[in-house]
Amino acid sequence: MTKADTLPIHTEEDIVRVRQMTRSLAQQSGLNLVDQTKIVTAASELARNTLVYGGGGHVILERLQDAGRAGLRLTFEDQGPGIADIELALRDGYTSGKGLGLGLSGAKRLSNEFHIDSRVGEGTTVSIIKWKS
């Protein structure tokens, strides 16, 4: 059973709102403080990618119940330029902009499950899950 919320990502203030909603849902899902902090931080990195590199988009936030496991899934979607070389984009330190190049790789490390789908000229979808440990 899942319940989904969607938040727009078009301004820097939207990134803050994504963090706050993620924190609230992570608490409701029973994640401990460290895991809450990890998924909130991952959400912040991915929301900024959506804004800066994807030209804006939205995130779908879903609380998961899977065979007794509780978790939180965040799916970031944009219709931006897409990523030509995902393997390169996932490398630590690789950046096409002014960041540190830790956004995608860092978000992946902070999550239990990570999925990215990107098409050049069509956009990028990044989905992460944090399970209650």
Binding site: E12, E13, I15, V16, R19, Q20, R23, L33, V34, Q36, T37, K38, V40, T41, S44, E45, R48, D92, G99, L100, L102, G103, S105, G106, R109, L110
Partner: protein, 128 residues
Amino acid sequence: MERIPILKQGDLLLVSVQVDMHDQLALNLQDDLTQRIVRDNARGVLIDISALDMVDSFIGRVLDNIATMSRILDAETVVVGIQPAVAITLVELGITLPNIRTALNIESGIALLRRLLPTPDGDADDQS
């Protein structure tokens, strides 16, 4: 424009970040602090982030920049109050804040700054 207040206490500048900073707010703090170091002749900067429940790569980079810029302007920066969950997450994210000195709380942060800064007569003050 929205700004984080900077307090002056002798030759120190004190900042307590109490809000979830959006990116421009963090950049404003970076600009304001570098200008205030020069204008107020400050020798030390103390930034309390105990109210922050998250530090991402952007905020981490801004904190690191503040420390580097203040050093170039002959001031020391100490960041205090990093929550344990934030420290764990920063390391996993790959952020090590190489240029930042830290202390656990405001008292030990001020004590650290006092040790780092020379007294007005030029001697290092190691009383604290």
